[in-house]
Amino acid sequence: MNKDTYPFRTIIDDFVYLFVSEGIHGIIDKGVLIEAIPEDKRYWFKSCYNLGLGDVTISENGWKLDDSVRSGNGDMPKIIATVARIAMDFLTKPPNSTLSFQGYLGSKSARQGKNHRNILYQRAINSNWEALSAEFSFWGVNAGQIEEYVVGKVYDQIFVKYR
């Protein structure tokens, strides 16, 4: 992927990634947390991880990662490209891991029946499909059904695994 991305810092043992977004509203700390989805004996979610992106903000209760913020910093393509780069970095590490990601569904998105962040993630995947699909396998979830990822189709949830 040859998109412009932000440099990021990794806290490797915990799969916490930090980077700084720079745009029309100045500098905003961003965090990505990749966490294992607890295994369930019935469903066997083996080595399945979930990716969360948000602003690292401070509140009266201390630091937190907030995925509901729409920072509107004018650099969303660069942020999404950075998240894609982080996901690629992560997937080469724990063997056989599968990464699930699903954008935050805010009230505006819910009203419109569209997950805007998923659309942005998918745009990044689709526009780099040739390079990404050579290295990674993708699946999409639509109405509760998993299928091999089809470029141009809109999905509720996306899974990706290093080939």
């Binding site: 500098i27 979610f45 690292v56 937190k64 699903q102």
Partner: protein, 66 residues
Amino acid sequence: MITSMKKHRAEEHEAFLEELLKDKEKIIAAIKNSPSVIRKQQEAIEQLSKLKPPFPWDKDRREEAV
């Protein structure tokens, strides 16, 4: 000129991250315990529970094991 501006920005970014990482353990714990992270994990578990196994990525693993 542009190169020195870029360098300055990179230094600024680095300083921000350094500041944030001063108390690394605290930041990690705070991030992991964020309400949005807990909600997202819960949503991921629920979403996965709705999907019917076997999952296609498990098929890849089985093939690798053979």
